[in-house]
């Protein structure tokens, strides 16, 4: 009897929960899922919307990405570039955590000012940010080379262009992350620190044993969204790197070789391969998310 009642309550809770997430599900199905299915179906065809041709080709497009003489090298190189550029995600997180904990220390005055300043890049339009940085990295007259009295070919060398992009992206990314981490840190009760201080703990101990564990939810969020975003880097390639060979990412490949050529079969195949990899990585992170600590 008791058990039955409980079951009913649980069921009611489950139904209510479903009702609460239903707007998300409806939005997802209507605006994304249908298009995803359509696009997924295209990846098994040679669909070209302009010529109007569509022939079922099985896994041909997926195979082509790795074997076709025209696409293979471009595709594989774009994977290497994307992975290299992903370095900006951990870099950005490490720097942001450090800055946030600096700014969160009680002795530090002028939080508001620094917070506003640090966030400026995030408020500026992507186009402007990319143009300005392109300007600053310019080989002959750029301010960065002028500052170091060097002649470093940032924008034309296949590796340096990636380094420049990482620098720019860390610059552009820390504003948001510092704010997120500061919000997380301000939620940590002072009692923890006071207790640790009584035990004679130093700053490093407090950082690694109190601050860091307690911001793990924010850390988890920034890692996941950082990786998802990092895998999909595109605007920088066009606006900042001007399509330079060493800067081309997977999404650039999709836009350039797929959509740009109306080869929607190929574009879709590459997109879903990419999505599958991101999904796998995200799922694994969720699976091994025990390190994320919540209060309670």
């Amino acid at each position: 009897m008791e058990k039955h009642k409980d079951g009913k309550l649980v069921r009611r809770e489950k139904i209510t929960a479903l009702a609460f997430v239903s707007p998300l599900i409806i939005g997802f199905v209507v605006f994304t899922l249908i298009c995803m299915i359509v696009s997924f179906a295209w990846s098994f065809t040679n669909f070209n919307p302009i010529s109007g041709r569509m022939k079922f080709d099985g896994l041909e497009r997926y195979v082509e990405l790795f074997t076709h003489p025209t696409y293979k090298k471009a595709f594989l190189d774009s994977i290497v570039n994307t992975l290299f550029l992903l370095l900006s995600t951990p870099l950005c997180i490490v720097i942001s955590v450090l800055i946030a904990s600096l700014m969160n220390s009680k002795k530090f005055k002028g939080k508001t000012f620094f917070r506003v300043v640090i966030y400026l890049p995030a408020v500026t339009s992507v186009v402007a940010v990319n143009y300005i940085w392109r300007y600053m990295f310019e080989e002959n007259y750029g301010l960065i080379n002028a500052f170091f009295h060097a002649n470093i070919p940032w924008l034309t060398d296949n590796t340096l262009i990636k380094v420049a992009m990482i620098i720019k992206n860390v610059w552009g990314g820390i504003g948001t992350q510092v704010i997120l981490f500061m919000a997380g840190m301000q939620n940590i009760s002072d009692e923890y620190y006071e207790a640790a201080e009584l035990d004679g703990a130093g700053a490093a101990y407090k950082f690694f044993h109190i601050t860091l564990p307690l911001v793990t939810p924010v850390l988890f969020y920034t890692i996941i969204t950082g990786l998802i975003g990092g895998f999909q880097l595109y605007a920088d390639v066009e606006l900042f790197a001007g399509g330079q060979y060493g800067s081309r990412t997977i999404v650039h490949f999709i836009r350039n070789y797929g959509v740009g050529q109306n080869l929607y079969g190929l574009a879709s195949a590459a997109s879903f391969l990419l999505a599958a990899v991101i999904m796998l990585i995200t799922a694994l992170q969720f699976k091994f998310s025990k390190w994320v600590q919540y209060t309670d």
Partner: protein, 495 residues
Amino acid sequence: MKHMTKIFGVALSLVLGATMLAGCGGTGGSANVDPFVNDYDPNKEYNIEFLGWGDAKEQAIYQRIINDFMAEYPNIHVTYDASSAGEYLTKLTGEINDLPDVFYLPDTEFLQWVDGGHLLNLLGENGEGADLEALSNVWDNAVNEYYYNPETYTLGKSEGAGLFALPKDQGPFTLAYNIDLVNEQIEKNDLQNDEEVTALFSGEPVTWEVFRSAMKKLLVGAGENVYGIPYYELEHAVYSNNATFFDETVTTSTLTSTAMVDAVQFIGDLCTDGITPKDGLAGNGDGADNAFYQERALMTFVGPWDFATIWEMDGFNVDILPVPYGPGPDREYGTEDDGKSTAFIGSMGYCVAAKTKERGTSGAALMLAEYLCFDESAQRKFYSFGQCVPNLKDMAYNEYIPDSLGIMADEGHTAPASRHIFIDIVDGFKDENDKIGGKTRILYYTYLTSWRTNLEDTINQSGLYTGEKTAQEVLEAFEPSFQASLDEMNEYWKG
């Protein structure tokens, strides 16, 4: 296993069905050469849409010209929309099932679009279609580009071909030089009476050898970061050496033919000579332009549209030159197969959507396309705006070259002094003695475009510029991939 395939098949057909229902199947038509039927009735009201691209200033010019058109035909109301150049084709692809009545199409995309049956044949019977007489005053090459015969897969004017667009402009792309910087170098190195240098700036085409030698002399003492030219256009080298990328039917690669190899080697030699930078500013967007504007290059490639920028730069004096030519397949000058100074020309077409037939707006749409393509007052406004050379032969020769109406002088600027070279290029090769001409950019001839990017990337990354590899080696290594691209394109096109 059998079950699995079956289930998979059913699922797939369901999804494909959904695809069709979602309206994503495309029209799947094929080019149609039915004669144009004029459905225009002067007593009826028309609403037509025109989609283009351009920045705010260019859009303002277009809006003015369209207003003139509407004033002339008050019963035709034109809605003019424009997106940015970068997003234009993406947007147009999205509208594939419901295209605007009139729209731009770059000639590099023409083959796919005409093959997909989206463009209306503008040739009619009994004078119903495009005004061929007026078109005979438009550059021949520009008009011929948009003929296509779907039966024989032939581009260009031929028996049974339809006309699927009217040219917007012919944007010739040729060499420009910084007058003051060049003069400075001439004086510095005492080259006033140098035969090769004088020939280079005479306005007559010179050979590759003269070009290289004159540039080397000019660059002496120019400074560490100053180059002759930031990069060299592949097509200009290939076309001007009488070379080809593929055979006439676009089926077999000719990348390793002597003329082609020599053309690419010429670009490599410019680099090893120090005339172009080794890091290959090619394909690096504004890098090349910046080098020129920052006076780090004596020359660069420009189109008429670049002069809108140059005019705004006080004291920056630029004139244009024809491109140099190579010895041709036999590697000897003075023979019959010598290359001729050939620039690539590329245009955009004003297309009328096939859908206008159903909408009953074909006639009105064609009238707008014709107005934009060859109406005299419209053409005058376009060239005075400084973005292009006139489409009309007589206007180009009688008005644009001498600036007889003083329009460009009034605007406070003038097209380059040697602007007749632009005209010489778009007017093609008239006879055997004509030394300067133009040829449509190579992507016009192929169904897909990635091979060109690939070829350029391969050359840029190959070590050709540092002299580690020869053009022969680079092209031989690339040829199998190129042939595969050609096969793929033909499968798409004719398969």
